[in-house]
């Protein structure tokens, strides 16, 4: 029983981690309607910077949030401005797909060029301390990620619902042309949104770096699961991504324990394919997120 509870809790914690990676992805898709295949590499970049700051300056990894989050915001905004914006009116999807795939390839290999193939371990500053909750335990860093994910979801929801900019963002997400006619500066909203999505993954990078070794291909590892989470939760839905992440975290943890750790990815991607094919609007999705269906 304790084992089962522990597996369950591990799953929830993993879910929190998937959620914090996936929120930025779903935000960008929901608004800009671009699937950012380089999202994982944004995470990787953030983790490397966190590692540099922590090891070179000896700061607590969480302190690097002051640098990493604005830096990622700029990177995201720049990506939108330079790479995506000129392609927004492209007639074929493949152009946008190749653009972010190209960015992803370039970033992975740039990291390989700069940091080599070795893995970079960010000092954990006690973030790997087990915390006992009744009979089960979690790492403090995992718990912080889980809490941060909840706060991030709530904060984004508040921002999108109540602020003037948030309303403009939602208007653009729902109908780009109508929003433009109402005087919303659509290109600026896109740049802002892409930056915001990248900033979210920057926060994720800071929180994850102390727990996972950083390497040039760490992004691929996380982003594939993030795609699963985002599709499961309904593309563009932030709360959906959160709950989708919890589901996938639990599935990952349970199947890893009961089926075999080498097959858990197959289970997760199997579920992904089933959802994509059978219920592409996601578990909690509404009809309006069906934009990817013919």
């Amino acid at each position: 029983m304790t084992t089962f509870l522990q597996v369950l809790l591990n799953g929830l914690m993993l879910g929190g981690l998937f959620a914090i990676v996936a929120i930025g992805l779903t935000l960008i898709f929901g608004i800009v309607k671009v699937v950012n295949f380089a999202h994982g590499e944004f995470l990787m970049a953030g983790m490397f910077v966190t590692w540099l700051i922590t090891t070179r300056l000896g700061l607590h990894p969480y302190a690097s949030v002051i640098i990493v989050v604005p830096m990622m915001f700029l990177l995201g905004a720049l990506t939108q401005r330079v790479l995506i914006q000129p392609l927004m009116s492209a007639e074929d999807d493949h152009v946008q797909i190749f653009a972010t795939v190209g960015l992803s390839t370039a970033m992975i290999n740039l990291a390989l060029l700069i940091f080599g193939a070795d893995i970079a371990n960010t000092p954990n500053f006690g973030l790997r301390t087990p915390i006992e909750i009744g009979p089960v335990r979690v790492l403090s860093g995992q718990l912080y990620i889980f809490i941060a994910a909840i706060i991030l979801v709530a904060a984004l929801q508040l921002f999108l619902k109540n602020s003037q900019t948030g309303r403009a963002i939602r208007a653009v997400a729902q109908h780009r042309v109508a929003a433009e006619l109402m005087g919303v500066n659509v290109p600026r909203i896109y740049i802002l949104s892409f930056g915001l999505g990248a900033a979210c993954v920057g926060l994720a990078a800071v929180l994850i770096a102390p727990l996972y070794p950083t390497s040039s291909n760490i992004g691929t590892y996380f982003v594939l699961t993030a795609f699963v989470v985002v599709v499961l939760g309904g593309l563009g839905s932030i709360p959906g991504a959160f709950f989708g992440a919890l589901v996938i975290g639990l599935v990952d943890s349970l199947s890893g324990f009961y089926i075999g750790s080498d097959l858990r990815e197959a289970v997760v991607f199997g579920i992904f394919l089933l959802i994509l094919i059978l219920k592409p609007s996601g578990l909690f999705g509404k009809r309006m997120t069906l934009s990817h269906l013919s």
Partner: protein
């Protein structure tokens, strides 16, 4: 993304050999002759790699380019070929047989995993293809007994042509060059054939392709099977060349991206593009890898990424796109035909109201519509609609906006299934059939146009019409001939080589009719072909419809242009709120108080009563 490449550019009818063909031939020959001449192990290795990637990318292009389904999981098929080859090799079966076993397995796997994914668009198809790649990689790691797991598999030491393993490089070069030629020939043949046109048409506008009688799922499955089989055969070859395989290398995402990337850089959807892309990029990166060694780990990938971004931003149609633009600006700019130019239209312009003496008489029923009901949620879109269409008759279908006219069309052409009721169409055999999907309707001679025009934007006018013409003509040259003839008849002759996306709305409407006419339908459904076009074009459209009618085609026309309805229709049906409220001769129907009320409201009807 344009589909015409160098072959069709210079004109099929003449079969002339222009400089692009010569250049391409020289490039192809140099892939074989340079390494044979230099006879250096490294040079040979580079050229083998070029041929391999060029062939893989050409095979990918059949699905990714022609069919427009951007797969980033094509390494699955390459890997299946590799594993099939090695496993059979170690059981004592020659890879010459093993590659066909691999091809068969890959074709089946390709069709099974693609079938459910066809309804996914753009990035979601891509994501699904990546997910399948991951699943298969994880499974190949798990089933160690068969695949050797993460440690990989080595082939037993057996040399010679039987085993496709050699000490020297040149036999491998010969084999892979031969495979490249085969792959190019397959791609070229597909591109020119009916299958190729159907694939591109499906990519550009699925519904219009279905209306033209294309079985869209089937043609894409065929494309996937061919593409996967070719990739698997190349995988078998490469496994023999490497003599060692492992899941991480055989089922790699980066490898899949590279395959797709060469096609994009060379020119996606063209026959020659993938080869150009591979020939340009592989030497640079192989050289960087060899000369800079471990110090430049990641350099070639970085270059790939940057080049890919640069191409997407500045040359999204790849090298082939640039060549085509160059060729076009060099010669043809002056002969751009004017959009308003008129071509011959056969029908006599004065024959509007009076029945043509040569006109075949109205025959027996050809289409029967019985008790059609359709609900969208709470909205009852059509209610017990009954009518028949007789052979050679022109039936006008009018009604206010939202009356359910287009929904009715969708149900009588197979695009939508009615909740209740049935649609029967008389075939050439004289029997009534009840088809259920657009392709079956088309097979019985039903043709339709769309209210919102659906051109295959990247195709020329001629190619658009050819998609329809392929319905009757299986050979590409016959179809082209028929398409040209139809184009001239529809007044589109001067625009044959113009891209459809550049046409005016009047031109697009005519193209829509021309495409369906090329199918030589027996029953024609015209959905507002006159809406939004100018007065001159309306006259021309009326003449056009008369000329179609006079060939014995039965027509149902949804139309708001009353001038056309009155002069064309033998009979008119009025639909309002999903119900047939009037039926009869055009002159009578327009005076019917119910009809006046439906269009103009109760008060207007009362005031005039």
């Amino acid at each position: 993304m344009s589909i015409s490449d160098i072959h069709s550019q210079t004109g099929m009818n003449t079969r002339s050999i222009g400089w692009p063909q010569v250049a391409f031939g020289v490039l192809l020959a140099s892939l074989l002759l340079i390494p044979l001449g230099i006879d250096n192990a490294f040079v040979s290795h580079v050229f083998i790699t070029i041929c391999l990637f060029a062939a893989l990318s050409t095979a990918w292009n059949i699905v990714g380019g022609f069919a427009g389904q951007l797969s980033l999981g094509h390494a699955v098929f390459y890997g299946i070929g590799g594993y099939a080859g090695v496993i059979l090799f170690n059981l004592g079966v020659t890879p010459w047989i093993g590659m066909f076993v691999g091809a068969a397995v890959a074709a089946v796997v390709g069709m099974v995993i693609s079938y459910p994914c066809f309804r996914l668009k753009g990035p979601f198809y891509t994501l699904a293809s990546i997910a399948f790649l991951e699943v298969i990689r994880v499974l190949s790691l798990h089933f160690k007994d068969m695949t050797g797991g993460a440690t990989g598999m080595m082939i037993d030491l057996r040399l010679g042509w039987t085993w496709m393993v050699f000490r020297e490089r040149w036999p491998s070069l010969l084999i892979v060059f031969g495979m490249l030629l085969v792959t190019l020939a397959v791609a070229w043949a597909i591109r020119r054939s009916r299958l190729g046109f159907y694939l591109v048409a499906t990519r550009e506008r699925e519904s219009a392709a279905r209306a033209a009688g294309v079985r869209t799922v089937r043609v894409r499955l065929v494309a996937v099977a061919i593409s996967s089989a070719l990739c698997a055969m190349l995988g078998t070859f490469h496994a023999m060349y490497l003599t060692y395989i492992e899941p991480a290398a055989m089922f790699s995402l980066a490898f899949s991206i590279q395959i797709a990337m060469f096609a994009l850089i060379g020119g996606i959807g063209t026959v020659a593009g993938p080869l150009l892309g591979a020939a340009l990029l592989v030497p640079i990166t192989e050289w960087a890898r060899a000369s800079l060694g471990a110090s430049a780990l990641g350099l070639h990938g970085f270059v790939y990424g940057i080049v890919l971004i640069a191409f997407v931003l500045f040359m999204p149609n790849g090298i082939m796109g640039a060549i085509r633009r160059f060729a076009r600006s060099g010669g043809k700019a002056a002969v751009e035909p004017a959009q308003t130019e008129t071509g011959p239209i056969v029908a006599p312009a004065n024959a509007v109201a009076a029945p043509d003496p040569d006109r075949p008489g109205i025959g027996q029923d050809i289409l029967k519509v019985e008790n059609l009901n359709k609900r969208f949620g709470g909205l009852h879109v059509t209610r017990d609609v009954n009518f028949t269409l007789r052979e050679g008759e022109v039936l006008g279908l009018i009604g206010p906006n939202g009356a359910g006219k287009t929904t009715l069309f969708n149900m009588i052409s197979g695009f939508m299934t009615p909740d209740e009721g049935k649609v029967s169409l008389r075939g050439v055999d004289g029997q009534f059939h009840q088809p259920t999907n657009p392709a079956d309707f088309a097979a019985l001679g039903m043709g339709r146009t769309f209210q919102i025009v659906q051109p295959f934007a990247a195709m020329t006018v001629e190619e658009n019409i050819m998609v329809g013409a392929f319905y009757r003509h299986h050979d590409e040259r016959d179809a082209r001939e028929a398409a040209r003839e139809t184009a001239w008849r529809m007044g589109l002759g001067p625009l044959l080589n113009a891209e459809a996306r550049g046409l005016t709305i009047g031109g697009l409407k005519r193209l829509e009719v021309a495409r369906v006419m090329a199918m030589q339908p027996r029953v024609l459904l015209l959905d507002e072909v006159m809406a939004g076009i100018n007065q001159t074009d309306v006259r021309r459209a009326i003449d056009l419809m008369l000329s179609i009618r006079d060939t014995g085609v039965s027509i149902i026309a949804i139309e708001h242009v009353m001038q056309a309805v009155m002069s064309l229709s033998d009979r008119v049906i009025v639909l309002a709120s999903g119900e047939v409220i009037a039926e009869g001769r055009p002159q009578d129907v327009v005076r019917d108080p119910h009809v006046v009320e439906a269009y103009l409201g109760k008060e207007f009807a009362h005031a005039h009563a």
